[in-house]
């Protein structure tokens, strides 16, 4: 693992622990707000997207018919990862908060701690491998010599 990969891998959980530490700052402080908002908007999603990246990119996406720009599909994939990072984070925040509220165990700190632990766990998971394409045997007409 290169140092760059290590940084990418550990950045989301670090953001979570940083947000937890920022709770020590006074309420309404911009630093506290930035640390919390940034982690909630991107942290859990970034960790999940990193784990799933090989499987997510195993197959090219649908794209336009015209192929003028060779980098177009790559840029679209990048935008897609960014979108997933945001929406998976939002989804995770809503799900964890709802579960805590529904079970009468709600506290904001508990929610942040849960998300940080899940993000840390994801950081230690190996990347999810893409399922191999189905084995296709070349059809041989009956009776033909191989």
């Amino acid at each position: 693992m290169t140092p760059q990969e290590l940084v990418v891998r550990m950045l989301p959980p670090f953001g979570g622990w940083l947000a937890l530490a920022a709770l020590a700052l006074p309420g309404g402080s911009p630093l506290r707000g930035a640390a919390v908002a940034l982690f909630l908007a991107a942290g859990p999603g970034a960790a999940v997207v990193r784990v799933c990246a090989p499987a997510l990119g195993a197959r090219p996406a649908e794209g336009p018919v015209e192929r003028r720009d060779p980098g177009f599909a790559r840029h679209s994939d990048l935008l897609e990862r960014l979108m997933l990072t945001l929406f998976l984070s939002i989804g995770a925040v809503m799900l964890v908060a709802t579960v805590l509220i529904a079970t009468h165990t709600f506290s904001a700190q508990r929610m942040l701690l849960t998300l940080t632990l899940l993000t840390t766990l994801a950081a230690f998971c190996p990347p999810l491998r893409a399922s191999p394409p189905p084995r296709t045997t070349p059809r041989t007409p009956k009776g033909s010599a191989q």
């Binding site: 919390v36 799933c52 997510l56 018919v65 192929r67 908060a97 709600f106």
Partner: protein
């Protein structure tokens, strides 16, 4: 006909404009153009193959001055906007809302921004990031203006959602209708409120009012990535992508971007569609590479978040996915089945109490299209300003839908290539027949049609999209004309250029400027000055548990504060006969209505500026009638004035038995 999606299929000719029909049936020039290089325009010199469309230009390497030029109008527009923010006086809003209050430099800034955007986006030599920067500039000018100008958050509904968050935080869990009455519906779709409750605590602020004014900007930004991704699935043309994004934001005046569950659920809905359109097509399956199961897991997280947050959005998502299944290219039932199963699972468990109570009405409204699109009493724009802004909104929506229809009819190739998007745009229409959704279905249907409609509306403003084969033929024809009588075609080309430049610019300018009255033309109703907030807070600070608040309607800040312990009676929601009785004999009728409250609880009568504006501009009681009601209460010995300021009055009903406080 199924669209060509694999490389092999792409090499076969697509349906082309009539004159190309015979030419494209041969060996397929697209094959040649694609196999030789990514683009025919890239490989060929413009000197040999004249350019007929700016998108055919090869990626140029302009000098730094040309690259930076689009920044000038953008900065000028933002400077004009900043100046307007400092010089707009919102202390006296009239029936035109923010429109008449805005400083003229705001309109100049919007015009400069739109013009700069159009001349930037249509020039293939400009880096694509400039178009994105212009769209961000538009979002700031459209969605942050109110947050900058008004000292308090807009919309009574946003204040209501803030009350729900407060309630969740104080209750610490979900409650049933036995405990909180009708408001229990929010406890049955708590996703958004639970997340916001956590955010409020984590930020360490007293209430969500500290940040909810900025929510329209935040929720609009959330839509940007999925929208761009959807459009990039069907075209590489940057002009089409960014003009469609621009039109989407301009046409999205419906006002569902405020602090609400639907704002987040809608962004997630567009996100799911983006993933399905990009990853659930059948071309790769046919190439022997099945879709990775991880994509199903990814969209399931987003679908669950939608389902636990909002009632209508899962239904809209299901009809859109069903419509996609109608095309052979996207006949994958997994997303649809998953949406329906998750939605049903939630409805039959957590949301069952609400649904079982509401089901008879919902079943009755199915198929009653007339009643479902009717607006009803209390929603009729009244007064010149309200009518004008209401028509501005209709004009804007009508124009975008008309442009979309023109785009569909005119752009044959695009219609074929982007048919799935056409299906997604049309899918919400049958929901008219399903429910009235509190007289709001027409607006919601429009909102869910917009991603697809904006794409085809943008296509109507841009040159015709040609198949690669037709483009090659056009280039050959143009080269032949250039070597022949080139002078004869120049005036016609110049005329085409002028029409193709100025007509779309006029359309974009018109739409962008009309957005302002459509979106903020009713701010006299939606804005609550700090005095009004202070008066209502004074009421809730002193009201004992079990008290009753009587008001004309619910259009005031904090109307739902302490809804677990304070009751409300909004008399304009009552039967017309009773409203008439209140108008005839206000003090006596209201005192009788409020008489059932027993000590230590109290009965309050609250009349504020927001209630007056809402009643007057929506065709209920006019100012004279409400003034008469207030004067009657003020003169009545049964009421006592508790507080008043420039934004309203608060009275309490004197109670018999015991000393009056």
């Amino acid at each position: 006909m199924r669209p060509p999606v694999t490389p092999r299929e792409r090499s076969t000719p697509e349906p082309t404009p009539a004159r190309d029909g015979a030419k494209t049936s041969g060996s397929g020039p697209e094959t040649a153009s694609q196999s030789s290089s990514p683009s025919s325009s890239e490989s060929s010199s413009p000197a040999h193959e004249p350019v007929t469309d700016l998108s055919d230009l090869p990626p140029a390497r302009p000098g730094p001055r040309a690259v930076a030029w689009p920044g000038v109008p953008l900065l000028v527009a933002l400077a004009l906007w900043a100046y307007a923010m400092r010089h707009t006086d919102i202390s006296r809003l009239d029936d035109y809302g923010l429109v008449s209050a805005l400083h003229p430099t705001f309109w100049a800034g919007l015009a400069v921004l739109t013009t700069g955007f159009w001349f930037t986006v249509r020039d293939a030599r400009r880096p694509g990031a400039w178009s994105a920067a212009y769209v961000l500039g538009l979002l700031v000018m459209e969605r942050a203006t109110q947050a900058v100008l008004y000292p308090t958050p807009l919309y009574a509904w946003a204040w209501k959602h803030e009350a729900v968050i407060d309630h969740l935080l104080s209750a610490g869990g979900l409650q049933s209708a036995d405990q909180v009455g009708d408001m229990a519906v929010y406890d049955q779709w708590p996703g958004f409120f639970a997340a916001q409750a956590a955010l409020q605590r984590l930020l360490g602020v007293d209430s969500a009012t500290m940040f909810m004014a900025w929510w329209p900007l935040v929720s609009s930004l959330m839509l940007l990535l999925p929208l761009v991704l959807i459009y990039r699935t069907f075209t590489e043309d940057r002009r089409l992508i960014w003009t469609a994004v621009w039109l989407f934001y301009v046409a999205n005046w419906v006002g569902q971007d405020y602090f609400s569950p639907q704002s987040v659920a809608y962004a997630l809905h567009v996100g799911v569609l983006a993933v399905v359109l990009r990853r659930f097509g059948r071309s790769a399956v046919r190439r022997g590479r099945p879709r990775q199961a991880v994509w199903t897991v990814v969209i399931s997280v987003m679908i669950v978040a939608i389902v636990i947050s909002h009632q209508l959005t899962p239904g809209m998502l299901a009809v859109c996915l069903l419509a996609l299944c109608l095309s052979r290219r996207y006949r994958d039932w997994v997303p649809l089945v998953m949406t329906v199963v998750i939605f049903l699972a939630w409805c039959l468990t957590a949301a069952l109490p609400f649904l079982s109570a509401a089901m008879p009405d919902m079943i009755r409204s199915i198929g009653d299209v007339g009643a479902n699109v009717e607006t009803g009493y209390g929603a009729t724009p009244t007064g010149t300003g309200a009518i004008a802004t209401s028509w501005a909104a209709r004009l804007l929506s009508g124009s975008v839908l008309l442009l979309a229809a023109v785009g569909v009819l005119r752009q044959r190739v695009l219609r074929h290539r982007a048919r799935p998007l056409l299906l997604v745009a049309a899918a919400p229409l049958p929901m008219f027949a399903a429910s009235s959704y509190g007289s709001e279905m027409i607006f919601r249907v429009l909102l869910f049609m917009l991603p697809g409609a904006a794409f085809f509306a943008a296509a109507a403003l841009l040159p015709k999209v040609r198949t690669l084969a037709a483009a090659a033929d056009d280039a050959t024809d143009a080269a032949a004309q250039e070597t022949g009588d080139g002078r004869a075609t120049r005036p016609a080309t110049a005329r085409r250029w002028a029409i193709g430049t100025w007509v779309p610019l006029a359309a974009l300018l018109g739409g962008t400027l009309v957005f302002v009255p459509a979106y903020s033309g009713k701010d006299r109703i939606n804005y609550f000055p700090p005095q009004e907030v202070a008066l209502v807070r004074q009421l809730f600070d002193q009201a004992p548990g079990g008290s009753l608040v009587v008001a004309a309607n619910r259009n005031y800040p904090d109307a739902y504060a302490s809804y677990g312990s304070i009751d409300h009676y909004w008399f304009l929601d009552d039967a017309r006969s009773h409203v008439d009785k209140i108008v005839r004999d206000p003090a006596a009728t209201l005192a009788d209505d409020m008489a059932g409250v027993e000590r230590p609880a109290r009965a309050y009568f609250l009349l504020t500026q927001g209630q007056l504006a809402n009643s007057e501009m929506n065709g209920q009681l006019d100012k004279a009638q409400l003034d008469r009601i207030r004067a009657s209460v003020a003169a009545s010995p049964r009421f006592r004035l508790v507080a008043e300021n420039g934004a309203g009055w608060l009275y309490v009903l004197k109670q018999s038995g015991g000393a009056e406080r």
